[in-house]
């Protein structure tokens, strides 16, 4: 993945721990703006030297980059806890997990043995069969967005297209007024664009979001609907109805996990097609290749790196890992490990098998993976149907997100051919 735009600087901080990275092996920082644009090179350099990087930042954090390590750590839920899935600056130097309930994103932040019963209630709602029922309304939303783009020939497809799809889908899923999708997009965008924002600012935004969600729960209690919010209100945990708190944590998880992740995947895929006219042309000529293309986009541009908190002292490649250290889990790095993948950094329509880790691994497999795949397939295939030839606009700067969700902040495209909208 190349980077050809100007870097944005992290917010200055008195604490020198937040300075720029000088050595990616001993002092890396996933929140350095140079990290996401250069991940393939950084991981490749690490694999050739020490395959696990360490940094004293954030109170001690590790970054393993091999397929085998990512797999082993994801499956070892006893040594590595999910109570700390996001590594970022806490208020007054605290760990983010110590901020309190604001980061309780049950079941993401749950560990076995409680995890199973925390995740179980929502599973049927996100099964392939259940999400397939949303295909028509997702397609309708995509077509409306494409109609709004109309005859514009140069635009930012992140701002005009990708970012709207999961926000609209989330509103439909939870039964929120569709006009609130823009507010959801603004909240998510603020968090996505810079993980280095002052923690107080992040907390204030999260409180505003929680207030919004609480109001929607109250609406739904008064007027039950056939949607996920009402479903959550009617769920039970250990024989008792879900508490308001549990409902809000489940909903907050959907906000954090389902929106910028999906728009990053759609945006990265459009950016790839804009840079690879040969892949775009094949998808136009052979639409039956979409399922393979989606899996390759997911493998190459997997947006999510999770993190774990180390529960007990352990070792990794002979390095002493201490309890309470952070362990980043870069699923996207496992997806390009050359010991597992042939021509790992190439997009291949005919890859013989593709068991990538884009949606994580083990018990925390992404709850919304089936919905995300559906959104990608519909959004990308409709875009290509409307705009069968386009290229990335090289006169515009490219910028990548900062933090554990990797995706393009902008996807500037130039349209070279447009089909007429369906009557």
């Amino acid at each position: 993945m190349s980077y050809d735009g100007p870097a944005t600087s992290p917010i200055a901080d008195d604490d020198s721990l937040y300075g720029p990275v000088s050595n990616w092996e001993s002092d890396f920082d996933h929140a350095d703006p140079q990290y996401n644009p250069n991940t393939w090179q950084i991981w490749s350099d690490l694999r050739e030297g020490c395959p696990v990087a360490h940094s004293d930042r954030y109170g001690g954090v590790w970054l393993p980059v091999t397929h085998a390590d990512v797999q082993r750590i994801a499956h070892d839920t006893e040594t590595f806890s999910n109570r700390g899935p996001l590594v970022m600056r806490g208020i007054d130097g605290q760990d983010p997990v110590e901020i309190g309930d604001s980061l309780n994103l049950t079941p993401l932040t749950s560990d076995p043995p409680n995890h199973r019963e925390a995740k179980a209630p929502m599973l049927p709602y996100f099964s392939p069969k259940r999400v397939a029922a949303m295909e028509d309304e997702i397609r309708e939303a995509c077509i409306t967005l494409l109609d709004e783009i109309g005859t514009t020939t140069a635009f930012d497809a992140a701002e005009r297209y990708a970012q709207h799809i999961p926000t609209i889908v989330t509103c439909k899923l939870l039964g929120f007024p569709i006009e609130d999708a823009e507010q959801l997009r603004q909240w998510t965008k603020a968090g996505f664009e810079n993980i280095n924002e002052p923690p107080e600012q992040r907390m204030a935004r999260m409180m505003e979001e929680f207030g919004y969600l609480a109001a929607r729960v109250a609406d739904h209690r008064a007027n039950p609907q056939d949607d996920l919010t009402t479903f959550l209100i009617n769920c039970e945990y250990r024989g008792e109805p879900f508490s308001d708190e549990r409902i809000l944590h489940n909903m907050a998880l959907l906000m954090v996990a389902g929106i910028d992740t999906t728009w990053s995947s759609i945006g990265s895929s459009l950016w790839h097609l804009g840079n690879h006219p040969e892949h775009l042309a094949r998808l136009v000529a052979e639409p039956e290749l979409w399922p393979n293309a989606i899996e390759e986009f997911l493998r190459l541009y997997a947006p999510v790196t999770m993190a774990r908190k180390v529960e007990t002292d352990t070792e990794l490649h002979g390095c002493p890992v201490k309890a309470n250290d952070w362990m980043l889990l870069p699923f996207p790095a496992a997806n390009v490990d050359p010991t597992v993948w042939d021509r790992p950094e190439e997009f291949l329509f005919d890859r013989p098998k593709n068991p990538h880790f884009a949606f994580g691994l083990g018990v925390h497999r992404c709850l919304g993976s089936n919905l995300a795949r559906l959104e990608m397939r519909v959004a990308l295939s409709e875009f290509v149907k409307r705009f069968p030839t386009f290229v990335t606009d090289e006169t515009q700067p490219m910028e990548w997100s900062v933090g554990q969700i990797r995706g393009p902040k902008v996807v500037h495209l130039r349209i070279l051919e447009a089909a007429a909208p369906a009557a």
Partner: protein
């Protein structure tokens, strides 16, 4: 040829069902509902494709 699914390893990626829906059925939660299945003649390559796509390595094909 038989399909063996290790239910302890299945976490609901549903990839087996996506590539070979006639062989790999899912339960209501979207997890593979098989534990063992005799592969019908002619479906051997579909059985293998389902196993190959599983990120958890939960599916084994025996001859």
């Amino acid at each position: 040829m038989k399909i063996l699914v290790d239910k302890d390893k299945c976490t609901g990626h549903a990839r087996c069902n996506a590539v070979a829906p006639d062989l790999y059925e899912l339960d209501d939660n979207g997890y593979c509902s098989l534990t063992e299945l005799q592969v019908p003649v002619g479906s051997e390559s579909d059985a293998q494709a389902g196993a190959d796509e599983c990120p958890e390595g939960a599916i084994t094909i025996t001859s």
